[in-house]
């Protein structure tokens, strides 16, 4: 397997081969999830810490299930239960984590870069479970897995990503991943929520990235429509006037979806705000792969844990 990193911090640093290697590994683990006994002994005796500074039942549960299906011991630490308080330095945090002798640590944090900073201080494999608006690599990988599973390829597909790009790590990781894999991305949303020079964040790739002025331009002819969750608190920072206006101007309705390819698939990283960024009618339609994304999330996280915490032999058994 072509994957030789200590950590998984982001998609931007990965090559196409490495991405394919994770997706292929996930393929074999998805099969485990279909068995009646959904467990393999691959990571028996290994310790995985889920270190979450932000509430996220969905991602944490997905990593926890993935660890358990690989027979690893999974420990959940959330900001409220850990000793982490304001004023503790990252070095203290790192030492406390190391004291538990983990093989891998999944970190979710509201500040970009915290997994990167900790990765320099900790020997265990660090998996970025989402750092602020920066990256969420396992989400992008599960999205790619889901697209590949349904469409048979990613190369050459037209993909629309709609909504709050500015605060979205999902958008950034998907932008890196899908362009690397040769997809053509079209981004749209209120200008207030599209960060400056977004079209310049990707390196040269076989894919492309365009920021559209209108949501209709982004959706037209798309094979994949990815909707992002809108946070209510963005209103207070004057990004948009009201959820009602947002849903009318930028929400994905069945009518707007008609602009996409007839076999277009609709994705959402969850949790969905029904009737805001996406209508119930669309969420519940045959186009929607929201539940497949959840299922595939476990397979991707099993693959990532296996590749980062698995292959190593026990050090110093004497």
């Amino acid at each position: 397997m072509a994957f030789n990193h200590k950590d998984l911090l982001g998609i931007r640093e990965l090559s196409v081969e490495e991405i394919n290697s994770i997706l292929d590994t996930a393929e074999s683990f998805k099969e485990v999830s279909r068995r009646s006994i959904k467990k393999v002994p691959t990571l028996r005796g290994k310790t995985i810490i889920n270190f979450f500074f932000e509430a996220s039942t969905r991602t944490r549960t997905s990593f926890e299930i993935a660890a358990k299906r690989l027979s690893a011991d999974a420990i959940n630490i959330s900001a409220s239960t850990s000793s982490v308080t304001k004023g503790e330095t990252l070095i203290d945090t790192a030492r406390n984590l190391e004291a538990m002798a983990p093989d891998a640590i999944v970190i979710r944090h509201p500040t970009p870069g915290v997994p990167h900073q900790l990765a320099r201080l900790i020997d265990a494999a660090i998996i970025n479970g989402g750092d602020g608006a920066h990256e969420h690599p396992t989400q992008a990988l599960l999205d790619a897995f889901t697209i590949r599973e349904r469409k048979g390829r990613i190369h050459g597909l037209q993909v629309a990503i709609i909504g709050d790009i500015m605060h979205s790590r999902v958008a950034r990781s998907n932008t890196h991943l899908l362009t690397k894999m040769g997809a053509h991305l079209r981004i749209a949303g209120p200008r207030t929520l599209i960060p400056t020079q977004y079209e310049k964040i990707v390196e040269d790739s076989e894919g492309s990235l365009t920021v559209c002025d209108r949501i209709e331009d982004a959706i037209s002819g798309s094979d994949v429509v990815m909707m992002l969750r809108i946070q209510r608190e963005r209103m207070s920072d004057a990004f948009f006037p009201s959820l009602k206006e947002y849903s009318i101007q930028y929400g994905l309705t069945a009518k707007r979806l008609e602009l996409a390819a007839s076999d277009a698939i609709v994705m959402h990283p969850g949790p969905v705000n029904r009737g805001v960024e996406i209508s119930s009618e669309v969420v519940d339609s045959a186009h929607s792969l929201v539940l497949d994304q959840v299922t595939n999330g476990v397979a991707i996280r099993m693959a990532v844990l296996f590749l980062l915490a698995g292959g190593k032999t026990e050090a110093h058994s004497d």
Binding site: R12, T89, L90, I91, H109, T111, P112, G113, V114, H116, Q117, D131, G132, A133, H134, E135, R169, R172, P195, T196, Q197, Y198, K200, I201
Partner: protein
């Protein structure tokens, strides 16, 4: 007490003097500059192959005393200053308590006197507590020794308060130093807004925040006739506004930091919190404009914005870490490397930006080696290569973005009023 500095290339931009010569110092003043001076009973400093310049003046340092002596004291900051070739430093008022009254001003001056290293010129606050509301006791601080006023780090957003500050400062012949940043536009920002903030998902500070504030200050300078000095200018737009203001004869000056001349926001990749300062590292395009503005004279001074922080405070999440980097001991090496060796800017011009440029901006009676001048002298080797090792700094803090950098240009010795205060090993 006499000192003869022999055989160095003396560069004194104020008088236009630039050739190999000897410098005789007597009783803390420059006695004579000339060829083959000889004198009996003098101490000799052999400056062959070295540059002999007026002592450097840094218009912008944070000494942290009173209140945060674990980061820096007046004495440790002054020691770092002379090690970096700075014989005079201007201490920003954001101490704890804020230097907004004469007793704090006097306290800083007393501490500097005890240290007997660099000259320390306190900068008083513009407003009480630098809260941006009521004027501080500006005239009393001036009596006590303050040489300028600033609410550095807490820009005065209320334009009417700023207008009054300028009018009042004009009455007392003090320059108003402004950290230019529209804090509504930059709210929550931790780095420059641009491709890299977008890539990293960190909240950006738009160049518009600085440009907007600079343009306001230029307008108020015209309205009030006050002398205005733009601290740590960092954007191409702001430079353009200062250039135009000067062209119209307004009393507007500005300074630039070594880090804004050497680094860009690309350095934030990797999330090293020693790349976090305010104003933030800007784009490569801005950096190139700053270098050209140094060359053509639109910028008056190099100032370090030396801002010490303890390693524990910097070792935090990027958005929680404090703004600021230290710079006194790397300034000369960085500016010589970037401006002279890489960009071909003449040594005379660089020395000017470190001496008479800042002296004029704040009206300080230093910055020249003309006969009779106060004998603050910095001797440096413009070509000597060295590697930055923060552990060897005299400063109490280590928060430099230049750790491990190979620089060209190093201080050999520093004299304040004819007295040796630093000599390199």
């Amino acid at each position: 007490m006499k000192l003869l500095i022999k055989g160095g290339r003396i560069i004194d931009p104020e008088s236009g003097f630039d050739r190999v010569a000897d410098l005789l110092i007597e009783d803390g003043r420059v006695a004579q500059v000339g060829s083959s001076l000889s004198e009996s009973g003098v101490e000799i400093f052999d400056a062959a192959g070295l540059i002999v310049a007026p002592g450097f003046i840094d218009l912008h340092v944070h000494l942290r005393e009173p209140g945060e002596e674990y980061k820096e004291t007046v004495a440790s900051g002054a020691e770092a200053a002379v090690a970096g070739g700075f014989t005079s430093i201007c201490a920003m008022p954001n101490t704890k308590p804020v230097n907004d009254n004469a007793s704090v001003t006097r306290y800083i001056i007393d501490k500097a006197r005890e240290a007997r290293l660099a000259n320390v010129y306190p900068v008083g606050a513009i407003t009480r507590g630098s809260m941006g509301e009521e004027l501080a006791e500006i005239a009393e601080m001036k009596e006590a020794g303050a040489i300028a006023i600033s609410d550095d780090g807490r820009p005065v957003m209320n334009s009417q308060v700023m207008r009054h500050a300028m009018e009042y400062a004009r009455d007392h012949n003090l320059v108003v130093v402004d950290h230019c940043q529209d804090t509504c536009l930059s709210a929550g920002g931790v780095m420059n807004e641009g491709r890299y903030s977008t890539l990293l998902g960190l909240k950006g500070m738009s160049v518009a925040a600085e440009d907007n504030h600079v343009s306001r200050d230029v307008i108020l300078s015209e309205v009030t006739g006050a002398r205005v000095h733009i601290a740590h200018i960092s954007t191409g737009g702001a430079v353009e506004m200062v250039r135009r203001a000067k062209g119209r004869g307004l009393s507007v000056t500005c300074e630039v930091t070594p880090h804004h001349l050497a680094l860009t926001d690309e350095s934030v990749l990797g999330f090293d919190t020693n790349t976090k300062m305010n104003p933030p590292l800007r784009s490569e395009a801005d950096r190139l404009v700053l270098i050209e503005a140094v060359r053509d004279g639109a910028i008056d001074a190099i100032a370090t914005d030396h801002a010490p922080h303890h390693a524990d405070e910097k070792m935090l999440e990027y958005d929680r870490a404090p703004f600021g980097v230290i710079g006194l001991e790397t300034a000369l090496g960085v500016v010589l490397t970037v401006l002279h060796h890489q960009s071909g800017i003449a040594l005379t011009r660089i020395v000017e930006m470190l001496t008479i440029g800042p002296a004029r901006a704040f009206g300080l009676p230093r910055g020249t080696l003309a006969a009779g001048a106060i004998a603050d002298v910095t001797i440096f080797d413009a070509d000597r290569e060295w590697t930055v090792d923060a552990r060897r700094f005299k400063s109490k803090s280590r928060n430099t973005p230049f750790g491990g950098w190979k620089l060209r240009g190093r201080v050999a010795a520093t004299f304040v009023e004819g007295r040796e205060v630093f000599r390199a090993e």
